[in-house]
Symmetry: C2
Subunit: 356 residues, 2 copies
């Protein structure tokens, strides 16, 4: 029996996707070859990566001047690679400190350029998105962590600014429609909403790439290299791209990004309603900034937390322990998470009788 | 029926490994979870990466001062990352131009430091390893491409120098025992000898890491980051690591690196003997530098080449077309390649009757 896995990423995918991926790993489309032994330059794989890019393009309705890249290295590499590509040696960028991933982004960008931290939610332990700040005139772009996976807060409206947004969307990519024109770069690792660990999708608005820069970007980290070579400058992680394609097909077949958003809202409302109702639990983030992907909450005592974790575990609900810096619980509900699993978690909360 | 796949990488793996990987993708060890949805920080995955590192350590008999890292980004990233980590802004490294991957390494290193190209095999179309050169006094290390996958030439003896070797072993990692103490850094992508595309194993001899440098290496590309965090600074590509573990277990169970070497020699001798005997074919590299992993050869006319490719294809032998810059055929015979497949290819060469 499959467990109900609320892990923050790598995260659960629909069972049918895991099965399709497994079948292809043994014999891809009755070709007598594993999908993972096919050359990244073979026509069979070229079709896969082209279809995956076309689906991202279609789902987000990307204009022509956006490029879809498939890169290894993870979103964490993009925290350095994006500033390398966008900023000259004396340029600056701006960022709002929303939590763990904003801090990582600040550290990575500071190694390369000037960073304006416009505001920080650290004083309230990152329970909200700071919205009261002023953009300095010299910032080339505003970096946003679209959804802070660890603290469970999310931008429901992106800041209105005159400069491009560079967005780390690792935990809410493909979970809702976007006005992409406001973005310079969007990047996301696959292992939350659209695949397994090992591949990052990067959307590059070519209008924001500087035509020249005083920074020497290593060829392998230059977006232009991968645009020119359609992500095949070197061996792309072929199997992770294939799983991403399966997820993209699944997302489209299920109804696209409007439907993913509807489901995310439905799942998270179900859970937050119970968190707010149940006197044994309390939410961590302020309501208006709560993430629909990662619901962070705690029990009213550490002893009750231990008992509830055991109650979940006994009922095949796993992966809900919070990150150490936040504590409590975190239920991650990405595209691959069924509402039935959330219903089960809510039932467990309702029926939970701690021994005091 | 499984095809006989001589692709240069991504490359074939034993059928049992693909099957084990597929089973784990649906249900890992009867856990009710896919291996690909388990957190990289969960005990189940920590065991996997620790066992994989321990097996690399055991197979290569690594001394304590070597660290085993599992990094995303591919060996191509390491062509930039290794010089970043080892060279100060005014330092220099040396390299012998042995072919496609040496040229890539030269280009990547030149973006970061001084590069001494000691010799080049370009005049003979990279059919041999240049051995007549002098090491400049200021080179911090010598970069070697252990096996040039595209041209089919391989170091059977590494150069005897007083500085550390930095080796791109992507196409012959885990294919033979090594005197590791001569190496500063060894890196290899998994998709040839020990897994699928998406993960790179990097062996770092900590004795060669400079204690300080005037170069600011971005944290994400600093080997120290990944040493301190045991490759879990960010989300490692978990499924590719798991497949690497399956291959490492398989390599050990089959007899380890001595046995892999014995098999590589047996497979390649079988094929080269036929290439040399058969008047319809000719080898490309000089005999003493022929790769035991990638045998490059051609037919005596382009028309015969087309016919032989069709003959192979009809008999379920695929992936033997040479790289465009070299032409002809390339039969790649990594750890996952059965000698039976090589025997079949040799039989096809023997029985091949071109229509002239």
């Amino acid at each position: 029996m499959r467990k109900h896995n609320f892990s923050p990423g790598p995260a659960t995918l629909p069972a049918v996707v895991f099965q399709q991926a497994a079948d292809a790993l043994v014999d891809y489309n009755h070709s007598g070859l594993s999908i993972a032994e096919i050359s990244h330059r073979a026509p069979e794989f070229m079709q896969i990566i082209e279809e995956a890019s076309a689906l991202v393009r279609e789902l987000y309705q990307l204009p022509d001047y956006f490029e879809v890249l498939w890169l290894p290295g993870g979103a964490s590499s993009q925290l350095a690679v994006a500033p390398m590509n966008l900023l000259g040696l004396n340029d600056s960028m701006a960022i709002v400190d929303t939590g763990f991933w904003a801090l990582r982004s600040i550290d990575a960008a500071r190694e390369l350029a000037q960073v304006h931290v416009l505001a920080s939610a650290s004083e309230t332990h990152y329970d909200r998105i700071p919205k009261d700040w002023t953009l300095p005139a010299d910032a080339k772009y505003l970096h946003v962590v679209s959804n802070e996976t660890i603290e469970g807060i999310q931008y429901h409206q992106y800041p209105e600014v005159d400069i491009p947004l560079v967005a780390d969307m690792t935990s809410d990519f493909l979970s809702k429609p976007l006005d992409v024109d406001r973005f310079g770069i969007i990047f996301a690792s696959a292992q939350k909403n659209f695949g397994i660990a090992g591949i990052t999708c990067v959307l590059v608005n070519t209008k924001v790439l500087p035509s020249n820069s005083d920074r020497k970007v290593p060829t392998i980290f230059d977006y232009r290299t991968h645009i020119q070579n359609q992500s095949l400058y070197h061996t792309v992680p072929t199997f992770p791209v294939y799983v991403a394609l399966l997820m993209l097909r699944w997302i489209k077949a299920e109804g696209g990004l409007d439907e993913m958003q509807k489901r995310s809202i439905a799942k998270s409302e179900l859970l937050y309603t119970e968190i707010d109702r149940n006197p044994l639990f309390e939410g961590i983030a302020v309501k208006e900034d709560r993430s629909v992907l990662n619901a962070c909450f705690r029990a009213i005592s550490p002893e009750i937390e231990i008992q509830f974790l055991a109650h979940c575990s006994k009922n095949n609900v796993v992966g809900i322990k919070g990150f150490p810096t936040v504590g409590g619980f975190r239920a991650s509900m990405y595209n691959g998470m069924n509402i039935e699993s959330v219903e089960l978690l809510v039932d467990l909360m309702k029926n939970f009788k701690p021994e005091l």
